[in-house]
């Protein structure tokens, strides 16, 4: 009954094309109808809480009693008196500035090698991607052994080269480097994008270059790199955002009794502690918004710079 009525209505709407519901309006209506579950979800589950957390960041709230308005106190405390937040900011930047460039260079190199047509190359491609599939929790537990001071895998290897490796996870100066090394182990996710990009580069370009007598090096820098720049751009933005939001590795390592906490604390783990261990939701919200501004600024910077170095095939060079 209802179905046939709806069918009737629809045929009537279609026949009355000259009315208010012409073809384009009807299309718009369907668009909003179909997208509404996501729109409602976005407004209720994302935009709502986001706006609320702006309000919370100006309050003192322990999750259970009513939030108490404190004005800019949380922000002032973050930047003037909170030593731990200072460490968290410093460590997060240090990690990001070290990890992101290394990740790009390393993933590009590996993707280049994996793009060679060799027997068994599929196996290597799988092996490179595998670490990314391993949960970070497991990786972190394994790397505790890799980084063990005297008989750890890494230091045993360094000893072969005559280098006396440090106590990676126990020395404030080395623990962040150890984190970077650990994260680079999961370089496979960036490699996959680059590899797909490389395989999408038209073979004619290389053929034309070969006819002109270009070297392997010229191939790479003159064709591969520019053609890949949109993928590198994507990888760069994603890895900047991911590094600024590092959580799991730090959380797990810091649960170890002897890890130098100040040398490893980062923004999100500190936010988590404030919100869920110290019950300072207002303060945690302020940290969240500071981080939001930082991520926004970095992303904007990269996007702005992209016109200088990102090349799209069907676009004229400005």
């Amino acid at each position: 009954m209802a179905a046939s009525q709806a069918g009737l209505k629809q045929t009537r709407l279609i026949t009355r094309t000259g009315g208010w519901l012409n073809a384009s309006r009807r299309e718009a209506l369907w668009f909003y109808l179909i997208i509404s579950p996501w729109l409602v979800g976005l407004l209720l589950l994302l935009a709502g809480p986001m706006l609320y957390s702006i309000y919370l960041s100006f309050t003192d709230w322990n999750l259970f009693n009513a939030p108490e308005w404190v004005g800019f106190d949380n922000y002032i405390r973050l930047f003037t008196r909170d030593r731990t937040f200072g460490y968290a900011l410093g460590n997060t930047f240090y990690y990001t500035f070290l990890y992101v460039p290394l990740n790009i260079v390393l993933s590009l190199g590996i993707a280049y090698l994996l793009n060679k047509r060799l027997p068994g190359i599929r196996l290597f491609r799988t092996v490179i991607y595998l670490p990314y599939v391993v949960p970070v929790v497991a990786t972190t537990m394994v790397f505790r052994w890799v980084f063990a001071p005297d008989n750890g895998l890494l230091n045993s290897f360094l000893a072969l080269l005559g280098i006396d490796g440090p106590a990676w996870l126990l020395t404030p100066e080395w623990v962040k480097i150890a984190l970077v090394i650990m994260s680079l182990w999961g370089v496979g996710s960036s490699v996959v994008f680059l590899l797909a990009g490389m395989q999408g580069i038209p073979a004619e370009l290389y053929e034309a270059a070969a006819i002109d007598g270009a070297s392997e090096r010229q191939h790479f820098f003159g064709i591969t790199l520019p053609m890949l720049s949109p993928v590198i751009f994507f990888n760069m933005i994603m890895s900047i955002i991911a590094s600024l939001q590092t959580f799991t590795q730090v959380y797990i390592l810091n649960a170890e009794p002897n890890t130098p906490g100040n040398a490893i604390v980062m923004i999100i783990p500190y936010l988590f502690d404030n919100a869920f261990r110290f019950n300072k939701m207002g303060y945690a919200s302020a940290i969240a918004w500071v981080l939001f501004v930082i991520i926004f600024a970095f992303t904007l910077l990269v996007i702005r710079s992209s016109s200088a170095w990102v090349f799209y095939e069907n676009e004229m060079k400005r």
Binding site: N62, L63, F64, N65, R81, R83, T84, A148, P149, D150, N151, A167, L169, L170, T171, P172, E256, P257, N258, T259, P260, G261, N262, A263, V265, D273, F276, R277, F278, N279, K280
Partner: protein, 418 residues
Amino acid sequence: MRLRMLALLTISLLLLSISMVAAQEPVTLRLSVWGSLSDQEAYQARIDLAEQQFPNITVELLYTPDDYDQRIQTMMAGGDAPDIVQLAEAIHGYSSRGQLLALDEMIASAGLDMAARFGTNHLQYQYEGSQYALPDRGGAMIVYYNTDMFDAAGLEYPNASWTWENFLAAAQALTVREGDAVTQYGFAAGGWWPWWMSFIYQNSGAVLDESGAPAFNSAEAAEALQFYNDLVYTYEVAPSPEDYANLGTNSPDPLFAQGKVAMIMTGFWNIASLRDVPDLNWDIAPVWGNTARGTVAFGSGLAITSSSAHPEEAFQIISFLTDEAAQTVIVERGQDAPANVAVLNSNLFLSGETFANRDIYMEAFGESADAIIALPLIPQWNEMQSVMSATLDEYFLNAIDTQTAVEQLQADLEDLLQ
């Protein structure tokens, strides 16, 4: 007139019978605990006893092995709090937020003599003059020592009269070196707060003074931390964090069980871990002191959440669980030291027959009773722990000196508490 009297009588009888039915109405309570699987079994056995005692009450056990506080807080925030919660050092975060029921009136009307039942153990669960939990489990941190190593070195065993001098002399005599490498440590501890905090109190220092102000900048606290770190880096009788990493562990307990350490400080639970280790001969003793005595009591209490719909029944249950019959189950199962003083002094506990397969000095727990320090259980306990370990992590790695450490600790705590 008579008719009216009769009517009144009938009505009041009716009301009385209704209320009696109401009292007998089945009530389901939820009780939340953490721990190992054997802890869970012990709680269940005690709950079974309680349910026999109160047939109208059903107690459902919620067992959370990890991230306990987070789970309880999530449940509370979601309006789904359990009726009874096991809590320890973090308790006053809850009591200060009004999430727990003050038990004073119910204790008074039940005529429960707290001092007779718990000694002084219940005082740590008081916040601003009100009692927020009944102590359930508790036992001092004690010394476990390897008797074979002591015999081999010809040393007398640790006892309650020991000072740091005796302790250090023994630790030095018990440390065995082969070249540069230590093959047997005299002592082993680390960054866990009960260890270093005990040393501070043993030296008449404190984390917070009587007025509640941070007291790390005292000579006593600095001296104690220095001595504690010297055990690792100067006297070299205890493993450093790096040594631990090379030994493949982060805890002294397995090293003791492997026969690599002569003395460790830990709680009652280690009896069960060591009981079945072959060829390991050990005993227990109270922890040494210096200018004072000091050890930490590990325990937990049972509290009632303020949102519980059945506080009276919940109190009946926690009162029963901390009374002799239910506390005896803790001893029978070798789970922990009970908080109930009568059970703590019972022959069953002192003989150790239900949980140790050897004759050990169980009196160590009773002898530690007056050395138990009043922990600074402030509402910000979790945050205080985090702040202190940030500095002490570096200090115990020997990356900063004592003066820097105590100044930093003092400043950070003052900032936290203001």
